[in-house]
Amino acid sequence: MGVTVLQPYPMPEGKSGAHIIDYLGKRLLSLGATHAGQFLVDCETFISTPQPHNGTPGRAVHVLHNSEYPASTFSIIDSGTGKQVSLVADSIFDLLMLKMTNTFTSKKQTKIESRGARFEYGDFVIKLGSVTMMEHFKGILIEIEYKSCMILAYCWEMIREMLQGFLNINVSKDFPTYFATQTIMTAMGQQQLHAKHNDLYEPTDTVKQYLEQFTNYRKHVSMHGSLSGTSGIQQPVHMSSSPVMGAAGGLVLIRS
């Protein structure tokens, strides 16, 4: 169990998801990684009923499973204000949710999952996942885990180098958005800057990252579905074609 970073892979035009996965898989195998099974991360959302009257969206409960932790079920409560409460429970939690149908209804159409092959390469575990929502392909999500380290700040550079190496995309130098510095309220009521990348990594962080990405994919759908035209959040990742400082490192190849 080590630091895990999610990297959405930008889909080039004209290629199908399966083709990309195949291509990336071949790259990994030629690097020397070994194929080690399949993985699955899925997310189901429950919305609280009845809807509150003042128009704010009801509380959402997201129930996620990760095949890397087969005995556990993760659950995140998302109140409309943005505060998230997470829970790690035994698998029997799913049965509990079935009994809560009075308070929470399941929105079956937003059931989203990331499924694919799992590769082990030394201390790294790389998962190539294709994200699907109700049998519609949404995108490709790469998960990379560095098993030897528990703090992102110590190994971000190495993970970034690894990603840039085999994915052939530009990964920004900053920490991923999940790990960015946040302002939190301390118990005293003061605001404080909290650097998440210096914290000990936990399995719930993986799941929260997945939830963030899934939410983005869902928003992507809703944006497209409502035909809102140009919108701010189209692709969650930047893909710049400018040559990058990696040339000095020698490991990174950017073919523009």
Partner: protein, 641 residues
């Protein structure tokens, strides 16, 4: 202090209902008027009776009579009571008249005479009463005495009886074993089923009364009892009850564990339940020993059956062999572990005593392992949740909420069978013995640096640790080399002071070579420290010289020292050949044999240092290498400034 309480008493003042009309109106009987009540009271007076009891009796009968009369003549109420009074008075008058007539006739003495009666004397004298009471009391005393006599007899009989009572014996039996009554017979259970065993063989025994006629050649239990008495234990010769154990559990059984190396017995172990509990057989009857033996047989059979099953199911590099009542497993090459079940149905007293090098550890381990299996069968680990399956361990229950990953979960599923565990323990015992042997022989053979080994007092069944210190006697403060060896089941792990970790296999020669190399480097490092103490300069030292012949073992180590003045140099080379071989050379500068030659004319070149000449190190005075080196350095140190 009592306060008077006013109590008010009221009658209910409810009148009897005489008639209820059809429309619901009730006609009450009017309450009796004063004259009516007076008439009622007067009617109750019976002039013929004088005493109070008679009056009361009369009241009841009068009330009963009144009840009957009321039903008939209800409209003559006002007349009737006075009528009764009149009749009674008339009767009373009649009687008084009769009495007066009688008295007047008796006074006349012509027709009726009144004669006085003679008074009888008091017949019963006090003495007769005394006699009658005495007789009654003596009869009562007789009854009591006979009862006491009976109790005394029973009590003394109980104490002094030689033949034990069946019921007392049964009580003792029940205190130790589980019994139940099935129709007419008493059946007992000596199996471990309630302790968690799932063995199929039943351990029921039957309890019967012992026959008075001694027929001690029929059943084996009585044979057991008689031979048991012949064993010299002070036991009762016979018992009031007899236990009958099933045929397959009769006799004595034990499990014998032997470690064999090429057909030689190296060490043996016996697994036996007997002889470990408190000795209670002296107090209770013969059946206790019989039942204990039978239980032991059952335990040994279960243990052996479990081991045999596992031996067949396990896949080992060299397969385990199960023949009859023997299981052979290979611990290390050429070393075998033989577990056999020895069951003798005839209890002969000249049975060979348990073999002397009894491995208590293996014996206890096998016992404990099977008991652990029993315990796990009957006890579920806490917590016992109401809504989740019962059975997983606490670690597995916590695996969900703690987000355990796949490797952790996989590790939780791995478990070792009894046979694997006992093989691991036996291997470890063997490795430990071997390591001890190597270290002891080395310590005995190598006298120069002393090898001191400290074994940890607390070990696990599959790992022990030993700390080895290599010191030179007298020079402990100068330096010591220490290393820790972890003895595992099939390998050793050696951790040196400088952090090097070496993994050795089970061959003893590897450990021996390692220690010799450590001795090698110990000598040189101590010499370096000693030189510093003696103010000699260490010019160089090396642990891995690559010069000279290729050594069969390790590398040569060397050291080059210069005297405080600089006029002498000592070079030391130590090799492991495999004996420790020390070569010492000294050189002096200026060289004695310098003669100016046309090529090298100046005299100053004599200071370049001479050739090294070998020292006959064996002939130098000194107890140990360091001692000799100290003397050498001392002798070569000169005082010239």
């Amino acid at each position: 202090m009592s306060n008077s309480v006013n109590i008010s008493v009221e009658t209910t003042c409810e009148n009897q209902i005489r008639e209820i009309g059809y429309d619901g109106t009730e006609l009450y009987q009017p309450p009796p008027t004063l004259s009516e009540s007076l008439a009622k009271c007067a009617a109750r007076i019976d002039f013929s009776k004088t005493s109070l009891d008679d009056l009361k009796k009369e009241e009841k009968t009068a009330a009963a009579a009144e009840e009957e009369n009321k039903d008939g003549t209800q409209f003559q109420e006002s007349l009737w009571p006075w009528d009764a009074v009149r009749n009674k008075l008339k009767d009373a008058l009649t009687e008084i008249c009769v009495l007066s007539d009688v008295i007047s006739i008796a006074k006349d003495k012509r027709y009726l005479v009144l004669d006085p009666l003679l008074e009888e004397g008091d017949d019963t004298k006090p003495i007769v009463q005394v006699y009658s009471r005495k007789k009654a009391i003596s009869q009562a005393a007789q009854v009591l005495l006979s009862g006491a006599e009976r109790l005394r007899n029973a009590h003394s009989e109980q104490r002094s009886r030689n033949v034990s009572d069946f019921h007392i014996e049964l009580l003792r039996l029940r205190q130790n074993w589980r019994l139940k009554k099935v129709s007419n017979a008493i059946i007992g259970d000596l199996s471990y089923r309630t302790a968690g065993s799932k063995f199929g063989m039943s351990g029921t025994f039957e309890v019967t009364k012992a026959e008075e006629a001694s027929d001690d050649d029929s059943t084996s239990t009585s044979t057991t009892s008689s031979t048991a008495t012949n064993n010299g234990m002070q036991m009762k010769a016979s018992s009031a009850l007899r236990v009958i154990v099933p045929a397959e559990l009769q006799g004595v059984a034990y499990i014998k564990v032997i470690t064999q190396k090429d057909q030689e017995d190296l060490c043996t172990a016996q697994v036996n339940l007997m002889g470990h509990g408190p000795n209670i057989t002296a107090q209770v009857g013969v059946w206790q020993k019989t039942l204990e033996f039978a239980q032991n047989v059952l335990f040994c059979k279960e243990l052996f059956a479990q081991l045999a099953r596992e031996a067949i199911q396990l896949q080992a590099p060299i397969p385990h062999v199960v023949i009859g009542n023997q299981i052979r497993a290979t611990l290390l090459p050429n070393i075998q572990l033989i577990i056999s079940l020895c069951h003798s149905t005839t209890f002969d007293s000249n049975q060979p005593a348990p073999i002397n090098d009894h491995d208590h550890v293996l014996e206890h381990s096998l016992h404990q392992l099977l008991r652990e299996v029993h315990y796990k069968n009957s006890h579920h680990p806490f917590p016992h949740p109401a809504s989740a399956p019962l059975g997983p361990t606490k670690k597995r229950m916590l695996a969900g909420p703690m987000a355990a990953d796949r490797e952790t979960l996989l590790d939780m599923t791995k478990s070792q069978t009894i046979l694997e565990q006992i093989i691991a323990q036996a291997q470890h015992i063997f490795m430990r013995k071997r390591t001890q042997y190597v270290l002891d022989t080395l310590a005995r053979d190598v006298k120069d640096p002393q090898i001191v080994s400290h074994w940890n007092a607390m070990n696990s069944p599959t790992m022990s640790c030993v700390k080895i210190n290599i010191v030179t006697h007298g020079y402990d403060a100068i330096g010591r080399t220490s290393l820790v060896i972890h003895v595992k089941e099939r390998s050793l792990k050696c951790i040196c002071r400088d952090g090097r970790v070496m993994r050795l296999s089970y061959e003893p020669q590897e450990l021996r070579d390692l220690i010799l190399c450590q001795i090698n480097s110990h000598q040189i490092s101590c010499l370096v420290s000693l030189a510093r103490c003696m103010a000699w300069t260490v010019l160089s030292n090396s642990n891995h010289l690559g010069i000279g012949k290729v050594e069969p073992l390790g590398n040569a180590s060397s050291c080059l020292l210069a005297s405080p003045n600089g006029d002498r140099m000592i070079a030391v080379q130590i090799r492991c050949d495999p004996q420790i071989d020390v070569k010492v050379y000294i050189a002096r500068s200026p060289r004695q044999d310098f003669f100016p030659s046309p090529l090298v004319p100046e005299k100053l070149w004599e200071n370049l240092g001479g050739n090294f000449k070998e020292v006959k190190f064996d002939k130098i005075e000194g107890k140990s290498f360091l001692n000799k080196m100290e003397f050498l350095m001392a002798s070569l140190t000169s005082n010239t400034a």
